[in-house]
């Protein structure tokens, strides 16, 4: 090899490692932003980095994270679910109805246990998820339209349950044997609030399904190329139904947790939660076109949104600036996502070439 060629190759390999470093930074952007935010808020607000505040923060994050985990599946399969906020509201209202008003059967009011009320709420929400899935997968309604429809239907239903009123005192009564509901949102386990454990458990299950099971890979395949997936023998309808059911289940869980935390079910609960969930998913690097992304990314995205929200409040930043900052972060995240794909596409030949020469 001539000295000139060696020098050229050395320069090229230096450039390649530079490109690789930039790509690494771009890929890890969500976690980098998270670390940066935590650093910044810890410096600016002395109370931010305390165990107490971090526990509270994680509890807040768990709400967005649980929704985002469910939404990730829908988006990975190339869909969208706008109804999650309304479904959360509906879930809380169903539980609230059963705990405070009971069920009238043959003129006698029965009070189901808190556990039964939770199951009934989950079942109602899963029915909405089933409707979403059926409309999208079977009836061929565009996901945006179908779930926009259920957004209104579920919100209306939540308002109808109580005629717009709030169900108070969800703690239940010992005489009716329906106490215990509030534990869902207020109890602690090993020092962390229960919702945090639920988020971690859901994350573990969801990440396992997405990465390690055929079902999970089929979700990616459908999002990547639905026609190819169909030709490969994937049962599209079933997989899509699954994604909307997961999303509705997560939404129901969130509605129940919030009702348990507030000890009251309010029909407007969950308004615009879907946007937070989608923002978390997108921040985590999942493509809205489907087929690309991860559950882990969504979890990190939820943390970014949660840390940003709580940190700005603790700093006393005005509400209006909070909105501007949140929006900017979301748009920047997507812009960087585009930049990453472009850099990858542009330098891929070079990186590959370098790899082959290294190999030789």
């Amino acid at each position: 090899m001539t000295p000139v060629a060696t020098a050229r190759q050395g320069k090229r390999s230096l450039r390649a490692s530079g490109v690789r470093f930039v790509l690494f930074l771009l890929r890890a952007r969500a976690i980098l932003v998270l670390v940066l935010l935590v650093l910044m808020f810890s410096l600016l607000a002395p109370e931010f980095l305390t165990a107490n505040n971090l526990a509270i923060l994680t509890k807040h994050v768990s709400i967005t994270a649980i929704l985002a985990i469910g939404t990730t599946f829908v988006i990975l399969a190339g869909g969208i679910d706008l109804s999650v906020g309304s479904v959360a509201g509906l879930g809380g209202m169903i539980a609230g109805l059963l705990i405070t008003q009971g069920m009238v059967i043959n003129g006698v009011t029965h009070y189901p246990s808190a556990f039964a009320a939770v199951l009934a709420a989950l079942a109602t929400c899963l029915a909405v998820g089933l409707l979403n899935g059926w409309m999208v997968a079977k009836a061929g309604v565009a996901p945006f339209i179908a779930t926009l429809g259920t957004l209104y239907v579920a919100r209306g239903a939540a308002l109808l349950v109580s005629n717009g009123k709030t169900f108070p005192n969800l703690a239940g009564q010992a005489a009716r044997a329906n106490t215990g509901f509030t534990a869902l949102g207020q109890s602690f386990f090993a020092g962390l609030p229960l919702p945090v454990w639920m988020m971690l458990a859901l994350y573990a299950i969801a990440a396992f399904i997405a990465d390690r099971t055929p079902l999970g890979r089929q979700v990616y395949a459908i999002g990547g190329n639905e026609r190819a997936a169909r030709l490969a023998g994937i049962r599209i309808t079933r997989v899509k139904l699954f994604t909307y059911l997961v999303s509705a289940f997560c939404a129901a869980l969130v509605g129940l947790i919030i009702a348990a935390q507030l000890e009251a079910a309010h029909p407007a609960t969950g308004e615009s939660f879907e946007l937070n969930a989608i923002a978390a998913v997108v921040l985590g690097g999942t493509s809205l076109m489907g087929g690309r992304g991860s559950v882990t990314g969504s979890l990190i995205g939820a943390f970014v949104i949660g840390v940003l929200a709580d940190g700005l409040v603790m700093l006393g930043v005005s509400e209006f600036w909070q909105m501007v900052i949140k929006g900017t972060v979301i748009v920047l995240a997507v812009a960087i996502d585009q930049l990453q794909s472009r850099i990858q596409a542009r330098f891929l030949p070079m990186l590959l070439e370098e790899q082959t020469t290294e190999g030789a």
């Binding site: 910044m40 410096l43 600016l44 607000a45 002395p46 109370e47 931010f48 305390t50 107490n52 505040n53 509270i56 509890k59 807040h60 709400i63 005629n163 717009g164 009123k165 709030t166 169900f167 108070p168 005192n169 919030i258 935390q261 507030l262 000890e263 009251a264 309010h266 029909p267 407007a268 609960t269 969950g270 308004e271 929200a309 709580d310 409040v313 603790m314 006393g316 005005s318 509400e319 209006f320």
Partner: protein
């Protein structure tokens, strides 16, 4: 030059990030009062929040104003953040009489005194004070003025209700009818909720005027809806329709001076906010507010005759 600048900017960035830390050390010694209001873009709540903040700053406290947008869950998060920030006290205009109980209880359990303004909760003995405007009395004085304006001939009138889930909407319509239903010359021919909203009130009023051309008055549960109704009356080319509202917002008082709205009840939001802060201060210094928990402050009737006496939810003259 350019390159030197390029090298300097990370240092500059850190300096900008760290600069406030130095300033905050000093400020941190003063106790913090967190004021949580429903929204920053509504003149009523803005006046309330600003008045409380100004008073607390004058008394030597640090102040933070947050808004919960009538979302009980968001309110919960803001309260968590206030507890985490070691607030000395929280002044709260809450997001729902039922849905806020658990949050107020959590604040009290954390050892932080909580003072409620403008809206009460359905529980006693948790908050240190609940200072609210007398919505019932306010509604009665507006209704009396409304009846007087309709005169001896009376007639048909329409009512625009607030959001039905809101306690104040129910109390106000109760106060209106305690006065108006005794008068046999007055007939409410239509009642609809416009959810406190100006645009919704505009649309509803247009429809109501279309369906009931004989209407002589419109009674609205708040000023925003009264203004929407006034705009609809104007755009329909009607005149001589008596409109009354509630709240005493600057826009409504301007409309009263122009003769578009007849009367409103001014909620003493600024007075209540200042009261809450001085009671907070007394509580933090002496361990007691020296007042009963529930305090009801009367509203003031605003008509063309005294419209100049009021400014930004406060009687100035």
């Amino acid at each position: 030059m350019n390159r030197r600048l390029a090298r300097a900017w990370p240092a500059l960035l850190w300096a900008m990030l760290l600069a406030p830390v130095g300033c905050r050390r000093e400020a941190n010694r003063r106790p913090l009062i967190v004021i949580i209001i429903p929204s920053q873009d509504n003149p009523f709540f803005k006046a309330e929040g600003d008045a409380a903040a100004a008073k607390a700053l004058a008394l030597g406290y640090r102040v933070r104003v947050d808004a919960h947008d009538d979302d009980a869950y968001h309110q919960d998060n803001l309260i968590d953040a206030a507890i985490a920030s070691n607030a000395a006290a929280i002044i709260l205009d809450n997001a729902g009489a039922d849905a806020s109980i658990a949050a107020v209880r959590r604040v009290t359990r954390a050892g932080i005194p909580c003072f409620l303004i403008d809206r009460a909760i359905e529980a006693d003995g948790i908050a240190k004070a609940q200072i609210i405007a007398d919505n019932d009395q306010g509604a009665r004085i507006v209704a009396a003025e409304f009846a007087k304006a309709l005169g001896a001939q009376g007639g048909k009138y329409a009512e625009l209700l607030g959001r039905e889930s809101d306690t104040n909407a129910q109390v106000r319509t109760g106060g209106f009818h305690a006065v108006l239903d005794r008068d046999p010359r007055l007939h409410r021919v239509v009642a609809q909720s416009a959810n406190w909203s100006q645009s919704e009130a505009f649309e509803k009023t247009e429809t109501i005027l279309e369906a009931n051309p004989g209407i002589r008055g419109i009674l609205a549960g708040n000023d925003t809806m009264a203004l929407g109704a006034a705009a609809a009356v104007k755009s329909a080319g009607r005149s001589g329709i008596v409109i009354a509202g509630f709240d005493g917002s600057p826009d409504a008082i301007a409309a009263i001076r122009r003769g578009e709205i007849r009367a409103t009840a001014l909620q003493p939001a600024v007075l209540i906010a200042r009261l809450a802060v001085s009671e907070t201060d007394r509580f933090l210094k002496t361990g007691s507010t020296g007042k009963p928990e529930r305090q009801v402050i009367p509203c003031e009737l605003v008509t063309e005759a005294n419209a100049a006496d009021f400014q930004n939810f406060e009687k100035v003259r």
